[in-house]
Amino acid sequence: MAKYWHEDIETMSLEDMRKLQNERLVKQVQHVYENVPYYRDLMDKKGVKPDDIQSVDDLHKLPFLSKADLREAYPTGMLAVPMKDCVRIHSTSGTTGKRVVAFYTQHDVDLWEDCCARAITAAGGNEDDVVQVAYGYGLFTGGMGLHGGSHKVGCLTLPMSSGNTERQIQFMRDLGATILCCTPSYAAYLGESLHEMGLTPDDIKLKAGIFGAEPWTEEMRRSIEQSLGIKAFDIYGLTESSGPGVAFECSEQSGMHINEDHFIPEIIDPETGEVLPEGSVGELVFTSITKEAFPLLRYRTRDLCVLSRKKCSCGRTLIKMAKPMGRSDDMLIIRGVNVFPSQIETVLIEQGYSPNYLIEVDRKNNTDTLDISVEMNPDQFSDKMKDVQDKEKELAGAMKTMLGINPKMHLVSPKTIARSEGKAVRVIDRRKLHD
């Protein structure tokens, strides 16, 4: 039984890995400089030429890319190959009109699926397994990514997509699914549903789960493992760098191995941009060194985490990243959708409300809830209930359009939302997503 998908890469010595990364990085910088005017301008502005980048040690000379850059370059400004050479796109959830669209050549898809195959193998999967993919299919990378990885490994793949819990459990039982791939909150929900149906882990064949796309805690891991009778593995990725499979957990279940033959990680100080030594907490930055269509160099993920090269009991030498412990910006991930408080503020101002608001996020019955309290002001108030309710509905509609999810709106008395001199507390997240 294979323990690794790409043993040579996954157990490569640091020296060899550096050599591989250096070769690929040099070529990639050349490719991007020649084909992505947006990034060429950034390099020119910084006074960096492709020749200045000879190895990973020169990486810090390159300019960063942020989500704002990707939005500005929307839709094709970051594309590094002719569009006819691409075979697929995926897109981030998030603001309407401000999504990030990522392009893939067939080669990109192949490498991405290989990354997912490594994750499935590390979770104990092989061609005898039945993989139930209950991530959403479509623009979201979760479904298609694990689906492709499952094919590569040669597993029987159940392309369930998310939702329809009864059918999920029926197929899980009838087809003997052994590996489940979905968000951790959906896994928890499936576990609960199983028990509600009077079933136990003995009634299913699941042995492992690969869960990602949203933050989850060790506590949640234990509870999922218990309710489904499995080992639960974390997986990390972002649309900007192809999707899930940038990093994956192994049998040790203590952090995720980064596929550093494709993605070079750095940890930086989010304030100064300075590169921090291994073991420091900082913002994770990725450089894609093999992607053809959408090769992002030094992309700031905004995820805060720690990298470690400590020897892993699984035998892999790939560097490990800890579970992200927060964000260096104020982004919230609610029901898998990226939400920025500034988007909420924009809607309030557009609709004539005071920019004093309070966002409360919680998780009830494994579903995220979003409550927004807004201060009523004389302009929006009327003695007629219908007028007030119409305006409230209009506000909720505008929020839904902007955020992509339905928040529960609450109108509150003026000056009841605390104001403070410095940074106002506008967000209360009660989900306890980080240990």
């Binding site: 009523m376 108030f381 007629k384 309710q389 109108l411 000056k415």
Partner: protein, 144 residues
Amino acid sequence: MDTIKQISIFVENQPGKLAELTRLIADAGIDLRTLSLADTRDFGILRVIVNKPAETEKLLKENDWTYKTAEVIGVKVPDRPGGVAEVLEAITEAEVNVEYMYAFVNRIPGRADTVFRVDDIETTLKALRSKGIEILTPEEAYCI
């Protein structure tokens, strides 16, 4: 014009809010002539008619309450079967919409004074008067 000033106040649906508001008004020596509350899950609208509208507005403003003042009509509805139906029929005939209405708290035998919020005050007043229905003057409304 024989209309009455009605002050509507936004009241968050929270224990003690209504008490806090009415205490504020009471402590300023303002008398609530009548009131009505419309409510939803999150908030209510308290509509009041007071003896001193201008003072009340100032008080609410100073204490950060959200309010709106509107002109409403007080009608001296005869306190007998059919009294309110006749008033509504007269308003309907004039093709005016009633937004909402509520009874006045008064102590005058034979009269069931009622507050009407309509979308066309002039037409309503004319229609009611032509039917011989009496209108409450501001003085009567504020100081009954």
